[in-house]
């Protein structure tokens, strides 16, 4: 009896695995690193079909560049009318101000209109450690170390007081949240305020920075050892035997096979197609106008000749 149960359960497991490889890819806003699995010869055919699926649907590339256009997948908070209105408002705001494409790990400079500051504007430079929120409530957090003091500022992406958002270095990191920089050595989050923007040649994919940070000794703000972080180099040397045992006990390796969990966390492909079809055209138009206006500006500004 027990054997039979075990066998049947293993069959179910195998079927689930097969299903995940086949179909799960398409329904997602899951973080991008899930995609970059090494392709073994067994999986090759499915991988090719995946590539074809993404080539067929160019909109799917947008979900990483503009994640805030996708609504929150929680069904309690869904409201199609509100989402539609929010999207139109976001596009209106984007036509006023250039909100560039950036990722967690990119270095940004944000200028806001600040009634408390003396010059009435306030500029902050830092590395983006977190992006969250959907629609008009999208926000991101910048972190920097100024005068040996760690400072973090949270900004709303569609805040009307934001005057400009400039990407100084466009890159990604190995993790989708860099909150561990709070416990890392300060040199990993120190950026000078007069940094020059680094321009990538057009058409290159966004580079992934493979730097691994070193953590300070404990106490830490969170239990980083349980979070399967890729961007931390020296996590093992700070752990005791007790922590390793508890990490094993707390590990949830089955969660990547939990289809329902993934489904609840993501927006289905059919819904995404509608959304991207609605905003794609205008986003492209905005990008084009930005490009032409930037080119014009570079041609028209004459350099003042001194002396």
């Amino acid at each position: 009896m027990a054997l039979a149960i075990r066998r049947s359960s293993s069959e179910v497991f195998g079927a689930a695995k097969w299903f995940i490889r086949r179909d799960c890819r398409v329904l997602s806003t899951v973080p991008e690193r899930a995609e970059e699995k090494p392709v073994t010869p067994k999986r090759e055919r499915q991988a090719v079909s995946r590539v074809r699926a993404s080539a067929r649907n160019p909109n799917l590339g947008l979900r990483h560049a503009y994640p805030e256009f996708l609504p929150d997948p929680n069904p309690k908070w869904r409201n199609s009318l509100r989402e539609k209105l929010e999207r139109s408002d976001m596009l209106k705001r984007r036509s006023q101000i250039d909100i560039p494409e950036f990722y967690v790990g990119s270095i940004l400079a944000v200028t806001i209109a600040d009634p408390h500051a003396q010059g009435k504007t306030n500029r902050f430079v830092g590395i983006c450690i977190e992006r969250k929120g959907c629609g008009l409530r999208a926000e991101f957090t910048l972190r920097n170390v100024v005068d040996h003091q760690g400072v973090e500022v949270r900004y709303d992406l569609y805040d009307p007081t934001v005057q400009s958002i400039q990407v100084l270095r466009l890159e990604k990191r190995l993790d989708d949240k860099l909150l561990y920089l709070r416990d890392a050595l300060p040199e990993y989050s120190t950026f000078s305020f007069d940094m020059d923007p680094e321009i990538l040649p057009e058409g290159t994919p966004v580079p992934v920075n493979p730097v691994q940070v070193k953590l300070k000794p404990r106490p830490w703000l969170e239990r980083w050892e349980r979070q399967e972080l890729k961007g931390v180099a020296n996590i093992e040397e700070h752990l005791k035997e007790k922590d390793r045992v508890r990490r094993e006990l707390r590990a949830t390796p089955w969660e990547k096979y939990d289809l329902m969990k993934q489904y609840r966390k993501t927006i289905p492909i059919e819904d995404q197609n509608d959304i991207w079809a609605e905003v794609n055209h205008q986003l492209r138009q905005l990008q084009l106008t930005r490009k032409t206006s930037a080119r014009k500006r570079t041609f028209t500004t004459p350099k003042p000749q001194l002396g």
Binding site: H116, V146, D147, Q149, G150, V151, Y155, D159
Partner: protein, 150 residues
């Protein structure tokens, strides 16, 4: 081997009878602060590894927010100070710091040191102006000794 694993399992399960969340990092009674000005007493207290303790927060919530006045116990004395940077979650556009920073002042609002060596949030300009009364203490003197605003 197997036995030891079971005992470990049991101890873990029994130790999780309560819910644990991340702490709020609020400035409350008896929380430790970091003195960020160059006053003599503050520098010595920080160098000795005995940072000041909050013994009174002058507001009705008993939780110190940015720009609030606190009384601290520092090197056996009672001093007043102003919170100029907090670790707890802040509003949008207000900077959050990695430590709870305080600047020591006397009863008139004059800072004890003459230089602050960490950045100060710009919102303090408005907050301290609002807290200053024409005949009472003038807290805006603190802004004069700041080196950098964020």
């Amino acid at each position: 081997m197997f036995k030891s694993l079971i005992t470990k399992l049991n101890c873990v399960q029994t130790s999780r009878t309560f819910h644990t969340t991340a702490c709020l990092n609020e400035v409350r009674l008896l929380s430790r602060l970091r003195v960020v000005d160059n006053s003599e007493i503050g520098k010595r207290a920080m160098a000795e590894g005995k940072p000041p303790k909050v013994i009174c927060v002058y507001n009705k919530k008993h939780v110190g927010y940015i720009g609030d006045r606190v009384m601290v116990a520092i090197k056996g004395q009672k001093k007043k100070g102003i919170l100029v940077g907090l670790k707890q979650k802040q509003n949008v556009k207000v900077p959050k710091f990695d430590s709870n920073n305080v600047v020591l002042i006397d009863d008139n609002g004059t800072p004890l040191g003459n230089r602050i060596h960490v950045p100060i949030p710009t919102i303090l300009r408005t907050i301290l102006k609002e807290k200053t009364h024409s005949k009472g203490a003038d807290y805006t003197k603190l802004l004069g000794i700041a080196t950098r605003f964020v």
